[in-house]
């Protein structure tokens, strides 16, 4: 007893399967970050279950040397719910994409979040359908030219984090595929969160939607186009750290201000509070070019989840009276024939 478990490494979490994403795909970086993170989580390998739907991102479980279930299009959250209901001890991860998670599987996404099932949803958002060869997705920017929208897509895109918050997710974060130093801690926090944790990962598809997040990733432009948010810290961004986000209390909207200009100082800026859903909602909607894109943990709240409450009810019911089959069959009105 009390014997220290052998320390696992990244290798222990890699499978013998040849990774079949396109060269340069952002998924490689995410895979690496997660394989590296796994040994650090101090969680039994045999308790990790990766469930995915259909799409490029959904190949993910094949490359993780854990339990994995590559299911059907859009249904990973529902299958993961069943896994977690059957065995709450398991650490369940849902890997999905923008089409899988918010188009065909949009309904399940709403409900897994609203029920606050204790699992992690990793949304690889590349704003395009990759595996079916490049059609626009529900997160594609309006006007996206694709095989199914040759003159530009007409649908308005949805914002995954905004929808997750509206659905009642108790943890919502946003990060970037190739930025392991940001992504790793984000995913770790999602793992440590008890309840449904939603992480949107901006992921580059080099084949069908290359560079769609370039302005928030590129070393030169990123500082001006994104804002790394941290709990308790004022919202400052820019290459010179001279810009910030202020709440206009009259219009209840956010505005970008320049620090030191027009009497604005740091104290006037909005301070991020992960427990404040109003702030989380406002930050989740910020898009360029007017606003920087917020990355980091937008929202975190501890609340009982569905599975916990199911367990609790179950324990109460079973402690009151453990079921007895014979008794059940003979319950109510019976009669004897001699």
């Amino acid at each position: 007893m009390n014997q220290a478990l052998p320390k696992l490494t990244l290798k222990d979490f890699s499978t013998d399967q040849e990774v079949r994403w396109c060269p340069g795909c952002g998924d490689y970086a995410i895979l690496k970050t997660i394989q590296k993170l796994m040994p650090e989580l101090d969680a039994p390998k045999e308790n990790q279950v990766f469930v995915s739907g259909i799409g490029c991102s959904s190949r993910f479980p094949y490359y993780m040397n854990t339990y994995g279930f590559h299911t059907i299009h859009g249904r990973a959250p529902a299958i993961a719910t069943g896994v977690k209901l059957a065995n709450p001890e398991l650490d369940v991860w849902v890997v999905t994409g923008d089409g899988d998670g918010f188009s065909i599987g949009g309904n399940h996404m709403l409900h897994v979040l609203r029920r606050n099932i204790d699992l992690q949803v990793l949304l690889f958002n590349n704003e395009i359908y990759g595996l079916t060869k490049g059609q626009y997705s529900p997160t594609s920017k309006q006007g996206t030219r694709s095989p199914s929208s040759p003159t530009g897509s007409i649908d308005l895109p949805l914002s995954p984090c905004e929808v997750a918050l509206a659905a009642g997710a108790t943890f919502v974060a946003r990060s970037i595929d190739t930025e392991a130093k940001h992504l790793g801690p984000c995913i770790r926090r999602s793992y440590e969160h008890r309840g449904a944790a939603f992480v949107e990962i901006l992921q580059n598809c080099p084949i069908y939607n290359d560079g769609v997040f370039e302005n928030v990733k590129d070393k030169k432009s990123a500082a001006d186009n994104r804002i790394e948010i941290e709990h308790g810290k004022p919202l400052i961004f820019g290459a010179e750290r001279d810009r910030g986000i202020r709440l206009n209390t009259l219009t209840l909207t956010l505005e970008v201000v320049e620090i030191g200009k027009g009497g604005v100082n740091v104290d006037d800026l909005l301070v991020h509070d992960e427990s404040n859903k109003v702030i989380a909602r406002l930050l989740s909607t910020m898009t360029g070019p007017e606003f920087p894109v917020a990355i980091g943990v937008l929202y975190s709240e501890r609340k009982n989840g569905y599975v916990e409450d199911v367990r609790e009810q179950q324990l109460t019911i079973r402690s009151r009276e453990r079921g007895d089959l014979k008794q059940l069959l003979h319950s109510g009105n019976t009669w004897q024939v001699d």
């Binding site: 045999e46 279930f69 590559h70 209901l85 009669w335 024939v337």
Partner: protein, 626 residues
């Protein structure tokens, strides 16, 4: 074959003793006819008659009072001999208003008894039932015995001491009527009185008022001057094997069968479902049984329900999902995933009238084709069907056993009739049920998820959380040898054949087809499946009593079919297949065995009548003799 009906020998209500009787309670949705029927059923069971019941309620939750489409009815057939249907024609009709009379009168036998509440035959109610003239006054009921009573008036008098509002007082009408019908058949009121006390523990005055109404109805029968030909009828108790009995609906029996299965398999069961008529009651029943190894999950939709069940099975529990036709269609992709990944899954289909929304509250057997083949790809699954309300218990256990033993989806076919119908059940001895404990894959070196049992061809069942068995499965075709993704053409052929052979092999594990009634060869076999059992059984029995060489074969295992079925069928000159669809089993039998089977098809949303099947049997023999 054309569907025609033969009138059965009618036991006119002349004698003091009759062998069997059909009573139908009919009224407004709010009249409490289902409760009345349930109490009468209980008293009848305790009296010792065999019985079968069928509630017939409208799709509308609260239809406008007095409307014909709002009539809710409860039919009970009880007697001294074995009873397996809810009866062809009505001997005693209780009609609480004109709508109940107009919709049910055509099925009352000549000389039958009709009990009406004259107080409800107001001009307004007559108009709603489209009666130009009051049928109580124009002689149109002359062919029947009529008990025309102002029930409302009697009820108000009976419950006067309890200070109820006028509306509350009238709610006791059903109990007054029940009291009268209990007098008519010499039933004991004790169980009903106890039940009312229990039901209204918190409102003792309501309980007392209902009991007073019940007793007053009974006393009315005893003391009132009734028209001649209306008296107490005695029905001798049925001779049934000794044992402890209870009354049970198909839904309850199915739920309890699933509970029993989880105990016998020593496994937790997740029942994941989405509300749909007529399947929801299964979810309700199991939600009240979580003190067993049962969890229930009301999913966001049909697809999520099947997927959650599959997730539970992946995690090592038994996943069960349930629906009716439209919902099963939505689950098809999930069922195929369970077949591809070889996970156990029980899918209960409580069939209803289709297509689309069809007739949600009416019964049909039209999902057999979907059960057998309604999936993409070459995706065989096991299919079994329950034949009576009590049979649902055994069939549920069998579905779970096959799903676990063969790591496969199993579709269990029930229907709206079986779900709601009830019959007495000789309670089985729990100790005699055969256990089938689940053995998940134990830790092993170099584990592969493709390992399988050489006999059953079933894949192993590794449980997440077990060290060393980490593995990946999915819907993409997998290598026979390693379980890894494989696009190899020869492998796909091999895996497709494996899936087929695995299901076909179940035939070695199920009983041979038996002949329920009659010889194992002969002139005519009537072959059925599912809820047509009762009607076929009675028809064959009566025809055999008349000297006809006819046998009854009833198929529980529809995929795979029993190994001897083909040979068995070859032994009959003619084969008649009554089905509540346009001929789905008959086509299967013809194509599988090249036998000249002929269909008898009823697609009215109503179960077969005994007389309809008898007529078809007689027609078969007429053709033979021509």
């Amino acid at each position: 074959m054309d569907l025609v009906e033969e009138k059965l020998d009618e036991h006119h209500l002349d004698a003091k003793q009759v062998m069997d009787v059909v009573v139908r309670f009919a009224g407004d949705s709010g009249d409490g006819m289902q409760l009345t029927g349930a109490n009468f059923t209980q008293a009848t069971a305790l009296y010792g008659n065999d019985l079968s019941t069928f509630p017939d309620f409208p799709a509308e939750i609260r239809a406008p009072a007095g409307a014909t489409f709002g009539v809710s009815a409860f039919q009970i057939y009880f007697g001294a001999n074995d009873i397996t249907t809810a009866g062809d024609a009505i001997d005693v009709l209780v009609a609480m208003n004109p709508a109940a009379l107009v919709t049910n009168l055509p099925n009352l036998i000549d000389g039958g008894l009709v009990i009406v509440d004259s107080g409800a035959f107001t001009e307004k109610n007559l108009a709603k039932a489209k009666y130009q003239v009051n049928p109580l006054e124009d002689g149109s009921l002359d062919a029947y015995r009529v008990l025309n009573i102002d029930i409302s008036k009697h009820v108000l008098a009976a419950v006067e001491p309890y200070n109820l509002s006028h509306k509350e007082a009238l709610r006791c009408k059903n109990m007054w009527t029940l009291g009268l019908v209990m007098w008519l058949f010499d039933r004991d009121r004790t169980a009903t009185i106890e039940g009312l006390k229990k039901k209204f523990t918190r409102q003792p005055e309501i309980a007392e008022a209902n009991i007073a109404a019940l007793n007053a109805g009974h006393a009315f029968g005893e003391t009132a001057e009734l028209p001649s030909g209306i008296h107490v009828y005695r029905i001798p108790p049925a001779r049934v094997p000794p044992g402890t009995y209870r009354n049970i609906t198909g839904t309850t029996a199915l739920a309890w069968g699933l509970i029993a299965a989880s105990e016998l398999a020593e496994i937790d069961l997740l029942f994941a479902s989405y509300p749909i008529t007529p399947a929801s009651n299964l979810l309700h029943e199991l939600s009240n049984r979580r003190n067993f190894r049962i969890s229930t999950f009301q999913a966001e939709d049909e697809i999520a329900a099947v997927c959650a069940a599959i997730g539970a099975s992946f995690a090592g529990s038994l996943g069960v999902t349930s629906s009716a036709g439209p919902g099963i269609a939505l689950k098809a992709e999930g069922i195929a995933l369970a077949a591809a990944t070889e996970l156990p899954l029980v899918v209960v289909n409580t069939q209803r009238g289709g297509p689309s929304t069809g007739l949600p509250t009416k019964t049909e057997q039209s999902d057999l084709n979907m059960a057998l083949g309604g999936r993409h790809g070459d995706t065989p699954i096991a299919v079994i069907a329950a034949s009576s309300p009590t049979d649902c218990f055994e069939v549920a256990i069998e579905a779970a056993r096959l799903a676990i033993r063969y790591m496969t989806p199993v579709m269990l076919l029930s229907d709206g009739y079986l779900a709601n119908a009830a019959e007495p059940w000789k309670i089985p001895d729990v100790a005699e049920l055969q256990p089938f404990p689940v053995r998940h894959q134990p830790p092993v070196e170099d584990f592969r998820p493709s390992l399988r049992d050489a006999t059953t061809l079933a894949r192993v069942w590794p449980k997440p959380g077990t060290p060393g068995l980490e593995h990946r499965i999915g819907g993409i075709e997998r290598s026979y040898d390693t379980g890894d993704i494989s696009y190899d053409p020869a492998n796909h052929q091999k895996m497709t054949e494996l899936r087929k052979a695995k299901i076909a092999g179940i035939a070695d594990d199920i009983p041979l087809q038996e002949v329920i009634l009659g010889a194992t060869t002969g002139k005519l076999a009537v072959v059925g499946w599912g809820s047509t059992f009762g009607a076929i059984h009675q028809a064959v029995k009566r025809c055999r009593a008349d000297g006809l060489d006819v046998s009854h074969i009833h198929i529980r295992y529809l995929c795979p079919l029993p190994k001897n079925l083909g040979d068995l069928l070859q032994g009959y000159e003619r084969i008649l297949v009554p089905e509540m669809n346009t001929g789905q089993l008959v086509r299967l039998l013809r194509s599988e065995y090249l036998v000249p089977a002929e269909g008898l098809n009823k697609i009215s949303g109503q179960p077969f009548k005994i007389g309809e099947i008898m007529a078809a049997i007689h027609q078969e023999f007429a053709e033979v003799n021509d």
